[in-house]
């Protein structure tokens, strides 16, 4: 496809993105402002992730794109096709074969390896935004390491609900310094952020922020000594298709009579497990 520059964006834009990405890697968890471009998709469809991916891709890459764990939903399919067309790169659904993985709101179940890059799509990068709407104030709070407000919020959850009532976008502290929004991944995925061998990059297109977790970075989910963080998923359930008891499950309503099933949110993990079980049976 010669009508597009490699990876869609012009070179000046890519240099701007690349400078922001390097600063983000140098200051783990800090949100670097960047001048987000209009992309050929609406905000909320992963424009930040797409720009970060475009800045990082090389022609030899193999790209995987997931949306809530699924390789075959509209968002994942269209972004994968987009990069196959404008960058001519190979695509895959297999986590282990991908060199770059763009994700919306999940971390794959298959453990990531060194050398892989995981690009998160982020809607609201500022973990303090719902506590303090003013950007000038949240910026000062980060500068002063003043995260008391967040701890109070978590405490109020415990006072009201008996537990920290946040199932996704659960705030983390990076290397003991910056409090960071891990994007709306389920808190089940939070432990995978910690000391991951892969490089994790976060792009928020509408909010114009890029942040990063270098490999082997300490990432702690915020909690209290007497109310420790617990990653959770549908309790006591296993996947109805592949039988996995250790993966994150989606609840699927199957009829109007209250029928339901739990299936893996990570479609590639689920189908590869199901295929190998079929192979064993045959």
């Amino acid at each position: 496809m010669t009508q597009y520059n490699f990876a869609y964006l012009d070179e000046a834009t890519k240099r701007m993105l690349r400078r922001a990405i390097l600063k983000a890697v140098a200051i783990p968890g800090y949100q670097v402002p960047f001048s987000s471009r209009e992309m050929p998709m609406p905000y909320g469809w992963g424009t930040g992730g797409v720009q970060v991916t475009a800045a990082c891709l090389v022609p030899e890459d193999t790209l995987k794109v997931i949306d809530q764990g699924a390789d075959d939903t509209t968002n994942a399919v269209s972004i994968r096709k987009f990069f196959a067309r404008v960058a001519g790169i190979a695509t895959t659904e297999a986590t282990a074969r991908a060199s770059v993985i763009q994700t919306r709101h999940r971390i794959p179940e298959t453990p990531l390896a060194a050398g892989q890059i995981l690009v998160f799509q982020v809607p609201i990068p500022e973990p303090l935004r719902f506590l303090e709407p003013r950007e000038t104030e949240t910026r000062t709070m980060h500068a002063l390491e003043d995260y008391g407000l967040m701890q109070v919020r978590l405490y109020e959850d415990i006072a009201r609900h008996g537990e920290i009532a946040r199932a996704y976008a659960y705030p983390v502290r990076v290397e003991g310094r910056y409090v960071m929004d891990p994007s709306p991944i389920p808190k089940f995925d939070n432990p995978k952020l910690h000391m991951s061998p892969a490089l994790q990059l976060f792009g928020a297109g509408r909010e114009c922020r890029i942040y990063a977790l270098p490999p082997f970075t300490r990432v702690e989910s915020l909690d209290f000594d007497d109310y420790p963080f617990t990653p959770s998923k549908a309790a006591g359930q296993a996947c109805a298709i592949c039988g996995a008891a250790d993966s994150y499950l989606d609840e699927v309503i199957t009829d109007d009579a209250g029928g339901r099933m739990f299936v893996c949110s990570d479609t590639e993990y689920c189908s590869s497990r199901a295929a190998s079980q079929q192979g064993d049976a045959a």
Binding site: A12, M16, A26, I27
Partner: protein, 188 residues
């Protein structure tokens, strides 16, 4: 008569993408030595430093040339290939030179508490890059990494200012290693 300029990337978009991935790999793994290829630099600039600048610097990023690197051949090369305005150390987004010419780090923007990203990236030309000397730990490093660094004491002070401070790209010939401000240093 001016010496002819060295050539840039043959395939700018793809060559720059490959070179950036190497720089990103180095920055994400402090102490790791990567190799940059695709373009040549005029003396006294190393190929790795020139390629890193071609990937990252442009007309929006003031560049400081320090010491022997502030020469006519390199100024011409910058004007043609980057278009980056040349500036003093105080305004630099990027700075290029040998450690002795660049030091001290306090001359460069360190970022401000609200915007620690507004700090200079120094490209330090080194006589050699080896994985020994100073022990590095921190983000990007599983257990530890080693790198011969020009002035461990000054760089320890830089790391102690985290989240403020400068980030370093160390270059020698086609080789490049990175030392972000987040890396902790131990002289053994």
């Amino acid at each position: 008569m001016n010496a002819p300029l060295t050539t840039g990337f043959a395939d700018p978009a793809r060559d720059a993408a490959r070179a950036f991935r190497q720089v990103l790999d180095a920055m994400a793994h402090p102490g790791r030595i990567v190799t940059l290829t695709g373009a040549l630099a005029p003396a006294p600039c190393s190929d790795a430093a020139a390629i890193a600048l071609m990937v990252l610097a442009d007309s929006t990023t003031p560049l400081h040339l320090a010491g022997a690197h502030d020469c006519a051949a390199l100024r011409d090369w910058v004007a043609f290939h980057l278009g980056a305005p040349l500036c003093g150390a105080q305004e630099a987004v990027f700075a290029l030179g040998a450690w002795e010419a660049l030091a001290p780090l306090s001359r460069y923007p360190q970022g401000v508490p609200d915007y620690p990203d507004r700090s200079a990236t120094l490209i330090v030309e080194c006589p050699e890059l080896r994985n020994d000397g100073v022990r590095l730990t921190g983000p990007g490093i599983e257990k530890d990494a080693w790198l011969n660094l020009p002035d461990a004491v000054a760089l320890q002070a830089n790391a102690a200012r985290f989240p403020l401070g400068c980030d370093l790209l160390l270059t020698c010939g086609p080789s490049l290693a990175a030392l972000p401000r987040s890396t902790r240093l131990e002289v053994c």
